[in-house]
Symmetry: C2
Subunit: 267 residues, 2 copies
Amino acid sequence: MATSLPIGDFSRATHMSVKTLRYYHSVGLLEPADVDRFTGHRRYGADQIPLAQVIRRFRALDMPVEEIRGILAAPDLPARNELIAGHLGRLQDSLARTRKAVTELQELLGRPGGAPDADISHRSVAQARAAAITAVIGELRATIGAQGLAAAGPPGGIYAAELFTDERGQATVFIPCDGEARPVGRVEPVVVPAAELAIIVHPGPDQGIDRAYGALAAHVARRELAVDGPIREYYLTGREDTPDEAAWRTEVGWPIFRTGPVSDHLS
Amino acid sequence: MATSLPIGDFSRATHMSVKTLRYYHSVGLLEPADVDRFTGHRRYGADQIPLAQVIRRFRALDMPVEEIRGILAAPDLPARNELIAGHLGRLQDSLARTRKAVTELQELLGRPGGAPDADISHRSVAQARAAAITAVIGELRATIGAQGLAAAGPPGGIYAAELFTDERGQATVFIPCDGEARPVGRVEPVVVPAAELAIIVHPGPDQGIDRAYGALAAHVARRELAVDGPIREYYLTGREDTPDEAAWRTEVGWPIFRTGPVSDHLS
DNA sequence: TTGCTCCTCACGTCACGTGAGGTGGC
DNA sequence: TTGCTCCTCACGTCACGTGAGGTGGC
């Protein structure tokens, strides 16, 4: 007659917890050889140890209980192999998905997974008081000069995304200044909101700036968490500063949710 | 004033299900801009769309809700990056585990992941009637010959695992035969139980058979689901057959739970 | 009145782990 | 009597999906 073990001993023999064994009993994956009709105590046969070990091995390979049951019940070896291969396929799918997630996260962190997009930088921009208008920079400069205010940074523009697709939408041009501007003509005081931006610098005059937009858009799509919000431009050097077009510099800023390397900040 | 959307519109705008949005509200991950005090209807601001998209992106990377909340609340960029990196690390761990599981499953299926162990084969052995003894083959052969029975296969032995570790345990030597043997002296009739075996062939006389055992044990540990049970030997060609020791052949069989390629069967 | 949208429970998922509260044999 | 083992509920996990049953505005 075969030796039989109480659940505790069987648990130690198989390195499965008592709770697990009771669970496997309840779902019919591994039934005890005997259950006492009065006390409910389970008894396992020593000859069930190898089966338990096989189950443990499959569970360690993340195979669902339901599928293990199927494998144990498979009528022949090809059926058994097919179930195992099915699980293998699912594991490989999840492997590919996880691998992709890892890559994306690495890119969000700015790790050298692909070459970093060298011409792109990041910036947290604090909000700033400014004088704003819907027309040209010269008018702004003259206005704040006349009001005895000083420029507190390069002039800039905020452009609603619809501008680029619908050809209509809100556009604002501003010069940050060190005090409250008084409204004069089309000039009004504004507070330029804070933002987190991915920045690319476009050299030269306006024509060709769409290449900078293209590069920035591609970068953001791949390596950043884009956020819907108006595009921003900063006019570092322009026609107001020098007639040499080659020396002009425009920054294009795309609003993002910041992750990745810490770079320069601008308040 | 900002545009606000009912949950259905916000759901379509963000590609999140209404159920998901309600869930995120209930756990405080994404609170609607306003909730009607009487009807309970939720309203979301259009400016919440980008935040929702960020959340969706992180969830697509399998980040737990609790951690996304932490990232959104992170006080600065390094803290944010650290949380993301933590998740990345966990993903990489699970990647490694899954990769290992895939390899093990492939080995169980006998895929060429490592070179297959060429000298190992598989066999399902049906149960067989036999004449058995705890001593030498010659005595068995003489006995069944005297009883007018024919050998139905090569002689074999069944050896309890304890034999190899404790140097004691049950050992049985048998010759399958085509009828019921009558007990004579130490010879008794037995039924050799069916088994699934991984098989290696050892050429030559007994000395050196431990090398075959070693190779078989290593193979089983890596590529099979081992099962506790007695080891079996089959004496295909031995001293009874030819005096040429180089021609002797012994098969060693290790009980397993069969997976992998279909090979020869022996009944 | 009929659709449509919105609401709040309540339950299921998967493989157990964690108690709570109680029993039986040495 | 004290430990120890064993038992059966019941609940929690994680991120929702799936109903059931009901309401409010066009």
